[in-house]
Symmetry: C2
Subunit: 421 residues, 2 copies
């Protein structure tokens, strides 16, 4: 499905001027028609059909399998998909084939959580430390984090879980607002959105930079004026700078006291991020929305290339690899601040952040989860925000189920919204 978001410059940034937020959707039904699992991967328009084809390529790994058997060893299930050697060749563990796998994997987690009648975060925090470790593929990360070390880490956090869960249920998980400062918005729109957000209780504000330094300075000044010195300002360059350029521009923008600079350069450039992070301290560096697998996560952490790890549960290979990333970050004591926005990503991240707090890191220090206020109306169980915080979801499952009428209306290219263009 595809939404014509480029009509309104929603989501516009220096790398992506005109996204039409889209999703390739995986829906898995049990034979008895009693349960349906919904997963999706987020895309920004053209090429979504390639992800749909890739989801189809996993059909042979799903149809006819026993859900209880899958649930009894979720790690083995993950490896059976990631390890299909012919499909693996197309990544490995990256790009379209991994995006598609995320949709399929997450549809299965949705299914098992629904069957347990729990929202996904609750299903995850109720897993034993052993079951969590079993869900993770330690291949190619064991030099840094072994299953035994991961188990010890989880067991050390076991005490206090119930209190943290109660606290989150009461207070909600802290979030920040991305949608104030899309690059395509005019000055009045940005001011108006900042004021509205402050009135709603938001404290952290992210804006897009990287297209033009003078314009970045003007917009940083504008947003800093609106939010005052005490609220946090984050900058997102969406990969447009080369390494030296990122350092230069970061230094120029330092006067606006950014809390972090996000995606300063290519997401593949671990050594580049490390150089930028070192040069720009005390400004911190965040990245991860395009970090494609646990091996890249491992290296970003090893190289001290990130101060905040942003993970994306549709870019990584679904919940199993999200858990791997959260464990690796905890091992290196780096905060995880998941990437959201787009369509459906907010519905995902609330579960991951709750799991991180309750079961893994045990802290909210420097942790904040992204939020953007687009397209939630298309979900059966959209996120609920209060005072700039995610309210923990109560509906069983992952929450990525799209309304049937939205699926019909925005189907591409045959839905009525697109047919008439």
């Amino acid at each position: 499905m595809r939404f014509p978001t480029s009509d309104f410059s929603h989501g516009s940034d220096a790398m992506n001027p005109d996204p039409d937020y889209s999703a390739a959707v995986a829906i898995i039904e049990t034979d008895d028609h009693e349960l349906t699992g919904h997963g999706m991967t987020f895309t920004i328009g053209r090429g979504t059909e390639i992800c749909v084809a890739a989801i189809g390529a996993f059909e042979g790994h799903i149809v006819g399998r026993d859900l209880e058997a899958i649930e009894s060893d979720l790690g083995d299930f993950w490896r059976s998909l990631a390890g299909d050697s012919q499909l693996r060749w197309l990544g490995p563990e990256k790009g379209v084939i991994h995006l598609a796998m995320a949709a399929v994997v997450n549809a299965i987690w949705d299914l098992v959580a629904r069957r347990a009648d729990k929202p996904l975060w609750k299903y995850m925090v109720d897993l034993t430390p052993e079951a969590i470790v079993r869900a993770v593929d330690f291949r190619h990360i064991s030099d840094v984090l072994s299953p035994q070390a991961a188990l010890a880490l989880l067991e050390a956090r076991h005490a206090g879980r119930a209190e943290r869960e109660q606290w989150l249920l009461r207070e909600g998980y802290p979030a920040y607002m991305t949608s104030a400062g899309w690059l395509g918005y005019d000055e009045d729109t940005i001011r108006r959105r900042c004021r509205a957000a402050i009135a709603e209780g938001w404290t952290h504000f992210k804006i897009k930079v990287g297209a033009d330094l003078e314009d970045d300075i003007r917009r940083c000044r504008l947003v800093r004026e609106e939010i005052g010195p005490d609220h946090k300002l984050m900058l997102d360059a969406n990969q447009v700078w080369d390494v030296d350029e990122a350092i230069r521009h970061g230094q120029q923008l330092a006067e606006f006291d950014p809390w972090w600079i996000e995606e300063p350069t290519s997401p593949d450039d671990i050594l580049g991020h490390a150089r930028i992070a070192e040069a720009l301290r005390p400004i911190r560096v965040a990245t991860g929305e395009h970090c494609h697998n646990r091996i890249m996560v491992k290296q970003l952490l090893q190289a001290r290339a990130v101060d905040f790890l942003q993970i994306d549960g549709c870019r990584l290979g679904g919940v199993n690899e999200v858990i791997a990333a959260i464990l690796l970050a905890a091992h290196f004591d780096i905060p995880v601040c998941p990437h959201a926005g787009g369509v459906g990503l907010c519905e995902h991240v609330q579960h991951f952040s709750a799991f991180d707090y309750i079961s893994v890191s045990g802290t909210l220090e420097d942790r904040i989860t992204e939020y953007a206020d687009h397209l939630h109306e298309h979900f059966v169980h959209p996120v609920t925000m209060r005072n700039g915080r995610y309210r923990l979801p109560e509906a069983p499952g992952l929450g990525a189920e799209l309304k049937a009428e939205s699926l019909a209306e925005f189907a591409f290219p045959d839905g009525p919204v697109w047919r008439d263009r």
Copy 2:
């Protein structure tokens, strides 16, 4: 198209037990029907249809464009594909979308070389240093190699080009033999293939390892027995080891005096390769067949993670990014030994190695290009080998054009070979 290679264990290794060598093919015709450009990306079976869909997604960037305008700025052409922000989201610059782009980009290079009535290698070496630099996208690598530095490097090698070209035309480019030691072959087959290869003049032999250490030792001993102490033996683990395991197994296999160990771990693990390379010296480390873009190449070289850079012109984004990789390697003084085998890869690498020798590195020291003797009969202009060397091709273009009858017979799933299964 797909070949039932798994019937014979051709191509079997520790990661890929049963590949059916396949290709997603891009064919671009000029309006006047006078010229046809052929590009392809190599896959190993299931999922090839995803690459076909991805090739289709680039249609809007090709159909209706002026070939002369494309040729006048091949770098701009490359960026117009790689920079399509909606398709870029699906990588970025990796996985299916990048594999597909390689097929499209290479079909264009095939077209321009055919129009010039030159084989691709000759078209490339006849480009001025300025034109070569203009074909490269320096985005995200300029911190290590600027266009100016690349130009200086090419100009420094300008003298002697004619002599090197004459020498290569006379002698051929040195190659090594992979297909002696596929994991699925039995002992007699391996011995027989080694003897035949030595009789044909081969001097370098690569075998697959990584499935089982005892078996690796047995097969290393067997091949070393057959080839004697003076021929070079290379080992290929196809990514199966974790970092510590790679170091341990590499040390165990040191007694067979391997020249290099290839793909010891995940292709994404730059820091892991660096640790392995340091631990195993004087055994050298090779990798690159799954290295997906110039940013990863840059880091492998920066981190001293490789002693041989293997590049794949269907995994990288086609000829433009191959040139970037060759320039980066020359800058770091690391030999390029392109990855071949599969279907059609040998037809590609001969051009890249010739270009490297004639225009960029100017040396053959520690340089050797892969060769495997499968499936050449399906090409209109297959490679010609003599005494373990690639004879430089004479036919205009890239040489990836498949015979019409092969395309028909092995089309998947509708060709006769597959319809009857």
